[in-house]
Symmetry: C2
Subunit: 339 residues, 2 copies
């Protein structure tokens, strides 16, 4: 079974030309029914598969797309990837995975590599460091190369590409409004991702929903020791009754802070987290959380890219798709169910 059989070998066995074999296998109307059958039978017998590399060289497409993931250990991105993979599967495309590890340098390196023509298109979620630096030249470079790019999740940039993301601002606005309607007077926000677009957007949503009479309570820092201090300020000094967490890390810190200081959830403090189902199911007591539907984001991004690759998308127009989040209500919170 060592060597894969080629068209040439098949043609020799069949005593016809390579062209004929190729056409027969591709159901060309040029070839007689009889020949087609003969060829296909032998091909099946030898388990013939066209060499994808050769096919790609002819068609000058690689049949693969590149996915750049900032952090694969984050279940959110892992699920996005699984959505991408599922959709790519449907479209007959391969997925080449690149992990930027939130590093600018690595992202530049990956993108540089991608301009060699390894892939027909790219799905990108911009690394944290890149966002901090606001250095996007490498991404524009990719676009200049006419490699279709779709941004996913971290999207609020003014780039001429398709985008798929989440209604960050809207989700926080809705939750805040809901809490206000419940009669909650002091609402706070905790974040370790203030420098990311998504983090900024979420806070904006919160701010927009606050009533003019209400004070903002924002505890934000990327450094754990400072964050705990700030959490102390809003939980102990300001005595907020509810807190919205912008990310997994801040949810965890609030949760642990409450545990260590005997603050009961949800009696003393209502907590809404931005995290995934798996972790929430571990928490005792459970909290409410905003479900982002990462698989859908992945599928949506791959779908847009697929359209670009097939030329079904308009050339000078980009699409922005927003996947709605859902507030999930758990046992020990006081929200009504949402369906």
């Amino acid at each position: 079974m060592k060597n894969k059989i080629t068209l040439k070998e098949l043609s020799k066995l069949l005593n016809v030309s390579v062209s004929t074999v190729s056409k027969a296998l591709n159901d060309s109307p040029e070839i007689s029914q009889k020949t087609v059958e003969r060829v296909k039978e032998l091909a099946a017998l030898h388990n013939y598969r066209p060499n994808p590399v050769a096919v790609n060289l002819k068609s000058s497409r690689s049949g693969t797309i590149g996915v750049i993931i900032p952090n694969i250990a984050n279940v959110f991105f892992a699920k996005v990837l699984s959505g991408i993979e599922a959709k790519a599967q449907e479209e007959g495309l391969q997925v080449i995975t690149y992990i930027s590890n939130e590093s600018y340098d690595r992202e530049v390196q990956i993108i540089d590599h991608l301009t060699s023509g390894f892939v027909d298109g790219v799905l990108l979620s911009i690394a944290e460091e890149t966002q901090r630096k606001r250095a996007f030249d490498h991404i524009y470079h990719l676009i200049d190369y006419d490699i279709p790019v779709v941004l996913y999740d971290r999207i609020n940039y003014d780039m001429p590409v398709d985008k798929v993301g989440v209604d960050d601002a809207e989700s926080f606005k809705k939750v805040t409004t809901k809490l206000i309607k419940k009669g909650v007077k002091k609402i706070g926000v905790v974040s370790t991702i203030l420098h990311l677009v998504n983090g900024k957007e979420r806070i904006r949503g919160y701010q927009e929903a606050l009533l003019p009479s209400m004070k903002e309570h924002i505890a934000a820092s990327t450094r754990r020791e400072f964050l705990d201090e700030k959490i102390h300020e809003i939980l102990i000094d300001d005595k907020v009754e509810a807190v919205l967490c912008c990310d997994t890390e801040s949810t965890m810190r609030v949760y642990r802070y409450a545990y260590e200081h005997n603050i009961r959830i949800p009696e003393d403090l209502k907590v809404v987290g931005f995290l995934n189902e798996e972790i929430t199911s571990f928490l005792t007591p459970s909290i409410s959380y905003i479900e982002q539907n990462p698989r859908k984001i992945g599928k949506g991004a791959m779908k847009l890219l697929g359209k670009r690759l097939k030329g079904e998308a308009e050339l000078n127009k980009t699409t922005e798709k927003i996947i709605k989040t859902k507030l999930v209500n758990l046992e020990s919170t006081t929200f009504d169910s949402e369906h």
Copy 2:
């Protein structure tokens, strides 16, 4: 910037032959220093990159490896992937990701696809359903195709391939022994993965470590309602003092069960989980857990595959690499630190 420049175009601009340009770029000693410089300069100017597809066709290698992941939303596998990706990066290989979703059919389909020559080698962790069915023909098929395969994590199969895994039995044996030395008399095990090799191995390690005088307390089921019943039996009826959990799901069930029945951890019950750091850090109180070092597993698997691909491995001999686990001790357990 639309069209990538090719060797042919470069050669025209330089008034030399395509061969000369190719050799110059590859630092062939055949070419004069002057020409090499001239060629490289222009190539750099035009940002020339060899078309990887064409290079692959010549070398009849694809330069990519395929990774089959049973479940990417499991952080364990996500981290394995990140280890694989890092090592592949070092070796200049691309990683094509396939997600089997623990499905036998999907795994068969992926492997069938892989025999077309998309990849030079495969890293595989066998899907749950495949293990249940004990149907491995498709994997042998891949091996017959002379595509190097390395099994990772789920490895205890008698296949003639390289393997990288964890010391499942050993890890449970060690923990059990440790507990016994601490004076714990009744030790139980909870598992939802009894049908997986890893699950079996862990239980075997536990059984081996038990003293002849001690009774086994095993709560195992893949169905949640049955599992809760069995957890009840060992926690309430048998009153075990410590419980080893074989997987994330069973850890979570035990944890929640204890919470709901006011069983204090670790005063009433010591819990050792098989889960990842992220989740553990969420638990209040925290528990001890066995750290498997998934990134190292990924790197190790990729390293073995790399050796096969470079022909550095002996042909009729396979390597099995075991990555040691580590027991991690957290605040509220009574283990000594281990370093």
